[in-house]
């Protein structure tokens, strides 16, 4: 195919193509015509892909620069003006984009988004959609002087209405005609997306339906479509289930092989009777139970590599000491169990922590997001209000949140403009310094207190272990003292930090948040360091002094106690601290407010509201009745009210 392809888009060539003697309309086209059509379709598809598919329009990458939009809009308008001229003899002149802008700001044209403008815009849209849906645009649609140019966006002004009502009526008929020729789903989609009132839309629909067929078969494809979707979804889930089971199989084999290699120590029966205290302390009856039973041993595993035996028959041997042994082949392969446990558990905790923090911040961020992208102040003003929120407290929260975000954004942009005097700056620094001093001081004080308290408890435990215990339960209960103290510290000190933050003055809320997070983190880390020293430095170094064979179990029990105490304290704090506080003391509540006066006030306001509503209803009824009376004199008002009462009863 090496004939000369002509891309000159002038009407002359188009007409030439149409008027060629060989051209049997609709049956045989020349190659030129074919290529032109294909090109037009491609252009149209491109344009329509961008304009009519609402989902694709959301892609930010496309709509990245405002300059481009102007070009498209302006260009579109210019082109549309031209196109409109070709297709519709009403448009006499060619409007440039600047002229159109001026036109759009004229008062007569800016009374709402006039119906005529909407109709003409949708008329063009349906035309385009019709053309897109057909495999090849029919030649009848091209008038003699049709220019196959890029069809721009519809004119959004009332610029089309040069004849007033007449023009609108004609455009309306045009729109109805286009709607008729669309497929049913396209018609519905177009109708739904029009920003007209429901009454007008149903009128358009009625006119469009008058000639068009309306088969009931539209319902059946919907049902079968649903059925196919369900079947596909089920099949897909079944396949993924199967593949998951198959993948499990692979790991099972490796795990079983690993288990066979290592024989666990024997489980001994516990001699201590069960008392309720075990649930809190994790010791006693639980200490010899499966809770502390595992593959752990504080030995190091070795692999014997003797030359006589084959590589597959290696049996691991235990060695009581942690020192390495010389082997025949000179290569030592050891597996230090305590270290392995430590790193595995530590790693698991760390990863869980990261996942939790990430998912929490993400879900928090969805409702309390502070964006950092460009040009967002305007966006924040217009899109941050969630219309779904209906509860009063949520509304209040949301508006506070928006306020915070706006302040944050303002602060970002205004940082350079604000000048503070030296005095103010020194004052602020002093206050900040004081606050930090208080926080760090209280943290250090608590840490020291914890250190000495843990030493005291340790000594107490040593004492109790040496003397035969009359009261083993008391010994178990005394283990709870340290967790309680730590939980109290973790609860009360952040409150103190909050209080000191009140007196400070921050530029932006995010700095405030980061500061308080860092203070809390500092507290938690120091408490953790002290506890680790207590466990590893005191208990692990000399487990026999408190009568332990295995210090690791004791530390495990300690962790259990700490977790449990923390949980109990959190529950209590949530209940007493938050719930009851909110119930009685927050401003939204009215439980503790003065009952007499408030009740009266409430009744009065209710009555007022009722009277107002009734007054409105009466006024409304009177006006309606008057209107009806004026329209139809024989119609008596009494019949209306009796009918209304009948309706409400029935």
């Amino acid at each position: 195919m090496d004939h000369n392809v002509n891309f000159d888009l002038t009407p002359h060539h188009m007409e030439a193509g149409l008027e060629s003697p060989v051209d049997e309309e609709g049956v045989h086209d020349s190659f030129n015509q074919l290529i032109e059509d294909q090109r037009q379709e491609a252009f149209e598809l491109q344009e329509l892909q961008r304009e009519l598919d609402e989902e694709e329009r959301d892609s930010v990458a496309y709509l990245s620069s405002p300059g481009r939009e102007i070009w498209r809009g302006g260009q579109g308008r210019g082109e549309e003006g031209e196109e409109g001229r070709q297709l519709d003899p009403l448009i006499e002149e060619r409007w440039s984009s600047a002229t159109l802008r001026v036109l759009s700001s004229m008062p007569s044209r800016t009374i709402g988004r006039s119906r005529g403008a909407i109709i003409s815009q949708y008329c063009n849209k349906t035309m385009k959609l019709r053309r897109r849906r057909q495999s090849r645009p029919s030649i009848k649609d091209f008038s003699r002087s049709a220019r196959p140019s890029i069809r721009g966006y519809g004119v959004e002004t009332g610029g089309v209405e040069t004849d007033g009502v007449d023009g609108e009526g004609r455009k309306r008929d045009h729109l109805v005609n286009n709607l008729q020729n669309l497929s049913l789903s396209d018609r519905v989609r177009m109708l739904r997306a029009m920003p007209l009132s429901v009454a007008e839309k149903s009128e358009l629909r009625r006119l469009a339906d008058r000639k068009g067929l309306r088969s009931k078969h539209s319902q059946i494809p919907c049902c079968s479509q649903l059925k196919y979707n369900i079947i596909n979804a089920l099949r897909h889930s079944w396949y993924s289930c199967l593949s998951f089971l198959h993948s499990l199989q692979l790991w099972q084999v490796a795990l079983k092989r690993g288990e066979r290699q290592y024989t666990p120590p024997r489980l001994t029966q516990g001699h201590v009777a069960f008392s309720g205290l075990e649930l809190l302390t994790g010791g006693g009856y639980f200490s010899d139970s499966v809770m502390y039973y595992g593959y752990y041993s504080n030995s190091t595993l070795y692999k014997n590599c003797s030359i006589s035996s084959s590589g597959m028959d290696q049996q691991p041997s235990h060695s009581p000491s942690k020192r390495t042994m010389e082997t025949d082949c000179g290569v030592k392969l050891s597996y230090n169990m305590p270290l392995a446990y430590f790193f595995t558990i530590g790693g698991a905790f760390f990863i869980t922590c990261i996942i939790l923090v990430y998912s929490m911040s993400k879900s928090f961020g969805q409702s309390f997001r502070i964006d950092k992208s460009h040009g967002i102040l305007a966006m924040k003003v217009f899109t941050s209000w969630d219309f779904k929120v209906i509860k009063k407290t949520s509304v209040k929260l949301r508006s506070e949140n928006i306020c915070t975000q706006l302040k944050e954004l303002l602060e970002e942009t205004n940082r350079k403009h604000v000048q503070k005097t030296v005095c103010q700056r020194i004052g602020r620094v002093t206050v900040h310094g004081l606050a930090w001093f208080i926080c760090i001081g209280s943290t250090v004080a608590c840490v020291l207190a914890l250190y000495y308290f843990s030493e005291y408890m340790h000594k107490d435990l040593q004492y109790r272990s040496r003397i035969p215990t009359k009261d083993p339960l008391l010994k178990e209960a005394s283990l709870l003292a340290l967790p309680v103290v730590v939980s109290l510290i973790n609860l009360l000190l952040p409150g103190l930090f909050n209080a000191t933050a009140w007196m400070e003055e921050y530029d932006s809320p995010s700095v405030h948040t980061y500061v308080s997070i860092s203070r809390n983190l500092m507290l938690k880390v120091s408490v953790l360091v002290v506890l680790c020293f207590h466990w590893l430095g005191r208990i692990a170094s000399d487990p026999n002094s408190i009568g332990l064979q295995c210090w690791e179990s004791f530390v495990g029990q300690e962790l259990y106690r700490f977790l449990l105490m923390d949980f109990i304290f959190t529950i209590l704090d949530t209940f007493f601290g938050e719930f009851l506080w909110r119930l009685f003391f927050s401003e939204g509540s009215d439980l503790l407010q003065h009952p007499g006066g408030d009740g009266q006030r409430k009744i009065i306001s209710l009555l007022q509201e009722q009277i107002e509503n009734e007054g409105e209803d009466k006024k409304f009824l009177i006006t309606r009745l008057q209107a009806i009376h004026q329209q139809k004199p024989p119609f008596s008002p009494r019949r209306l009210t009796s009918q209304a009462s009948q309706d409400s009863n029935g």
């Binding site: 609402e54 329009r57 959301d58 930010v60 709509l63 405002p66 939009e69 102007i70 809009g73 802008r101 759009s104 800016t110 709402g112 988004r113 959004e156 018609r187 519905v188 109708l191 739904r192 997306a193 029009m194 920003p195 009132s197 429901v198 839309k201 149903s202 629909r205 967002i376 102040l377 305007a378 966006m379 003003v381 217009f382 899109t383 941050s384 209000w385 969630d386 219309f387 779904k388 209906i390 509860k391 009063k392 509304v395 508006s399 506070e400 306020c403 706006l406 302040k407 303002l410 942009t413 205004n414 107002e612 509503n613 409105e616 209803d617 409304f620 209304a644 009462s645 409400s648 029935g650």
Partner: protein, 187 residues
């Protein structure tokens, strides 16, 4: 067991289904809600399309709208007379345009109308100030409000007339990822 009354004809249902984003059941639900706003005014039988309009005060007493700072504007935009008196068609239209499945373009048009307090087809500084005051319920100082409004117009205004036309607004909204989910009234 009362007498079963037809509320809408089949043709009316089809018209509603084609012109709005609601199903038959949802239209009936909406009618129920409309009726319970003023049981003595709103007839149960809509087959002959009575022209009953409810005033603004009744509509904004609905729980979905009661706490919304823009409730008056929303109802005014969808009313025929611009005063907030809604017929059932307008009522359905309001919830349809603000429902989950409404397309972005439609929502943008109505959002623009809602935020345009003085109905001059532009979002000028006063409109923005009113919007902001309703959003923050007076928590921002006047200087901050002024600053936010001028900055917002500066950012979004593309044709340099110090107010936002519909195309400026549309361009700005197209960059907002959560516009569709926030501009959504649930019923």
């Amino acid at each position: 067991m009362g007498n079963k009354q037809t509320i809408f004809t089949d043709e009316q249902f089809e018209a509603y289904q084609d012109c709005t984003f609601f199903t038959r059941k949802e239209i009936l639900q909406l009618h129920g809600r409309f009726h319970e706003l003023a049981p003595h005014l709103v007839p149960l039988d809509y087959t002959n399309q009575p022209d009953i309009r409810l005033p603004l005060a009744l509509i904004v007493s609905m729980p979905e709208l009661k706490e919304n700072p823009f409730r008056n504007r929303i109802v005014e935009v969808f009313s025929e007379d611009g005063q907030g008196n809604l017929s059932f068609n307008d009522f359905v239209d309001m919830f349809s345009a603000l429902c989950e499945t409404a397309p972005r373009e439609l929502k943008t048009i109505y959002a623009f109308k809602i935020y345009d307090f003085n109905v001059d087809n532009f979002l000028c500084k006063e409109d923005l100030e009113k919007t902001l005051n309703r959003l923050t319920k007076g928590e921002l100082t006047p200087e901050e409000v002024n600053l936010v409004c001028s900055k917002a117009i500066e950012e979004a205004d593309l044709d340099g007339d110090s107010k936002l036309s519909f195309s400026d607004f549309e361009n700005m909204i197209s960059k907002a990822p959560d516009f569709l989910s926030t501009f959504h009234l649930r019923i």
